[in-house]
């Protein structure tokens, strides 16, 4: 009988091991040989592509013009470099610096903005092809923190550092508008402790950065549904917007409590009110009118040229619906705290290679 029990245990262990295998390969469930094989091929092919792209990346110098069928995968697949840097940061994050100062992102320092000089663009980027408006979805803070073995709020703090670096780069390289997706209407379902932390982090960052932003001629605008935000945060937002409203170098738009559908809905309500008041006729409603009613009317370039999403997710998640009609999308594999300058340069280079035709024909 003892023997029988041992056999049972052995069988259970084997089944358990299989489930671990199936979970890693295709998300769990019973073991189907054919499905297992196809998913293995998929992973192998992904890895094979990744290796080929690594080889290509190293062989082709950045000065050579791109081949006619430009392979986006070259820029989208994760880099070996970033992997060992991630390992290095895992090690570094356990250094004594971490205690008391919070966690740093991979590439940025804790220092505030450096002096506002015009920096020359890195090699390979052409100044006349730089996008005017860049939008960023800062995804992956939670996953980054989990990979490092930290708490989610450390991930958000590291995310703020990374954002600081990107804002600095945009100011230096002549990008005129930067929109960041900080908090979506869908994020309200997260645990209350995380939401409270995020909003208080946002408030603290705004207060501490106000001086540096004003000094660097950066204008901040906040868009989104502000009805659910706490009053203290609203006060800080109003103050920051007032103080920076005349700055011209870079406009930083932060989307808090924002979703693309909500934006179109509130534009629709505004238009309906104007129709009711007799200001416009129903037949006069067209795209330009809606564009003027959207919340992105705070800037003169409401349509992003480039949208960057980190953490490898291939979707837009309801951010900037109307404005993304002709935006070039770039999906980066690394998490947001690791994105930094290298990732940004890659995204910009990929953008500059693309041919934008807006539905017409490239003659």
């Amino acid at each position: 009988e003892h023997h029988h029990h041992r056999i049972q245990q052995h069988r259970q262990k084997r089944r358990h091991r299989f489930q671990y295998l199936t979970r890693t390969i295709y998300g769990g469930g019973w073991f189907h040989p054919l499905r297992f094989i196809t998913q293995c091929f998929l992973s192998l092919h992904n890895h094979h592509n990744f290796l080929i792209n690594q080889f290509n990346k190293r062989m082709i110098s950045l000065r050579v013009p791109a081949p006619s069928s430009f392979n986006l995968q070259r820029f989208n697949s994760g880099a070996l470099e970033r992997r060992w840097k991630l390992g290095r940061d895992c090690f570094l994050s356990f250094t004594p610096n971490r205690i008391g100062l919070g966690v740093r992102a991979a590439k940025s320092e804790m220092a505030p903005f450096t002096a506002a000089e015009e920096e020359t663009l890195p090699e390979g980027l052409q100044p006349e092809l730089m996008p005017k408006h860049v939008a960023v979805i800062m995804d992956g803070n939670g996953r980054w923190a989990k990979n490092q073995g930290l708490q989610p709020w450390d991930g958000h703090r590291a995310g703020v550092e990374a954002l600081r670096e990107i804002v600095e780069l945009c100011g230096k390289w002549g990008i005129q508008v930067l929109t960041v997706f900080a908090f979506s209407t869908d994020n309200w379902i997260r645990p209350k402790i995380e939401i409270d932390f995020l909003l208080s982090l946002f408030e603290r960052t705004l207060k501490s950065e106000l001086e540096t932003l004003a000094k660097n001629n950066v204008r901040i605008s906040i868009i989104g549904d502000s009805s659910k935000l706490p009053n203290s945060l609203l006060k800080v937002i109003n103050e920051v917007e007032e103080v920076t409203k005349n700055n011209t170098r870079l406009q930083l738009i932060v989307a808090v409590g924002y979703s693309g559908k909500y934006d179109v809905l509130q534009a629709c309500r505004g238009i309906a009110q104007r129709v009711k008041d007799g200001e416009i006729e129903v037949e006069e409603i067209d795209e330009i009118l809606i564009e003027q009613e959207l919340e992105t009317n705070v800037t003169e370039f409401p349509y992003p040229d480039l949208l960057i999403r980190t953490s490898g997710e291939l979707r837009v998640s309801n951010f900037l619906l109307w404005q993304l009609a002709y935006t070039e999308l770039f999906f980066a594999q690394e998490m947001w705290p690791d994105f930094g300058r290298n990732g940004f340069v890659e995204a910009l280079m990929s953008f500059q290679q693309r041919q934008r035709r807006f539905g017409g024909r490239k003659s």
Partner: protein, 263 residues
């Protein structure tokens, strides 16, 4: 002799495809697939063919893709046939495209067409008033003729722009709610006035020819769909690309479902 061999090969292909689809259907399958059929002209130029033949090759690729989708059991398929921005091209090109569309729409009504084979219900989405009368009449005829079919659905977007669709929906909801309180306009009011409300949101959006942008297609509906950008031009797209997209969809599906349950 040659014909028999070909038939035999076709039978083998069909059988192996059925096996492959059986394996794929072990995992979660998308209900709604959307395609942006980009790259026909580049294909014609690459092969050195004359200008119009790229689109003809694209049409035959479309037919085979539809066949694979419906065999796999995907209920809704949306394709981006012609955009309002494409009217800005040269008039001869636009005219030849319109002629091709007229010919193909009329062929959908034939007995042996794919519509009757799979019981497809066809919708034509877009600002049909911008098309010329013949094409519009043919489109409406097809919509009426297939209205009784209910197995699978094909949505063809002609003279379509997502911003235009949203403008029409806003206009209609303003008119509907003119007498009531403006604050009561909700998301569902706009959504039910959209032309694409006959289908659920797409699970996957596939764009051929390597461009990674939406080009004013289904902006409202693709908020949560996976975007795949394939490097091949549209006439070069085949079964392997579809299988690839679905496998990738299945990989991230469990994570997505977890997130959706949280919502």
């Amino acid at each position: 002799m040659g014909g028999e061999v070909r038939q035999l090969l076709e039978q083998i292909h069909r059988f192996s495809r059925r096996c492959l689809f059986r394996v794929l259907s072990m995992g979660p399958l998308p209900t709604h697939l959307a395609f942006i059929m980009d790259g026909n002209r580049r294909y014609a130029k690459k092969r050195g063919l004359e200008d119009g033949s790229g689109h003809k090759a694209g049409f035959s690729t479309l037919m085979s893709m539809l066949q694979y989708c419906y065999e796999l059991g995907i209920k809704y398929v949306t394709i981006y046939a012609f955009s309002i921005d494409n009217f800005r091209r040269k008039p001869e090109e636009v005219q030849s495209l319109m002629d091709l569309m007229l010919e193909k729409i009329k062929s959908l009504l034939d007995e042996e067409s794919i519509v009757h084979e799979y019981g497809i219900r066809v919708y034509f989405i877009g600002n049909l008033g911008l098309l010329n009368d013949q094409v519009r009449a043919a489109a409406e005829e097809v919509m009426k003729a297939t209205a009784k079919n209910s197995r699978v659905v094909l949505l063809v977007c002609v003279a379509y722009n997502s911003t235009d669709e949203i403008v029409q929906a806003v206009k209609r909801s303003c008119v509907d709610k003119a007498d009531r309180d403006v604050e009561r306009i909700q998301l569902v009011d706009i959504e039910e006035n959209m032309q694409m409300s006959v289908a659920p949101e797409p699970d996957i959006l596939i764009r051929s020819s390597g461009e990674t942008r939406l080009s004013n297609f289904l902006l409202w509906q693709t908020g949560n769909s996976q975007l795949f950008s394939l490097d091949a031009l549209w006439p070069e797209i085949g079964l392997r690309h579809l299988v690839w997209a679905i496998l990738n969809f299945q990989r991230s599906h469990s994570y997505l479902e977890k997130r959706k349950k949280q919502l």
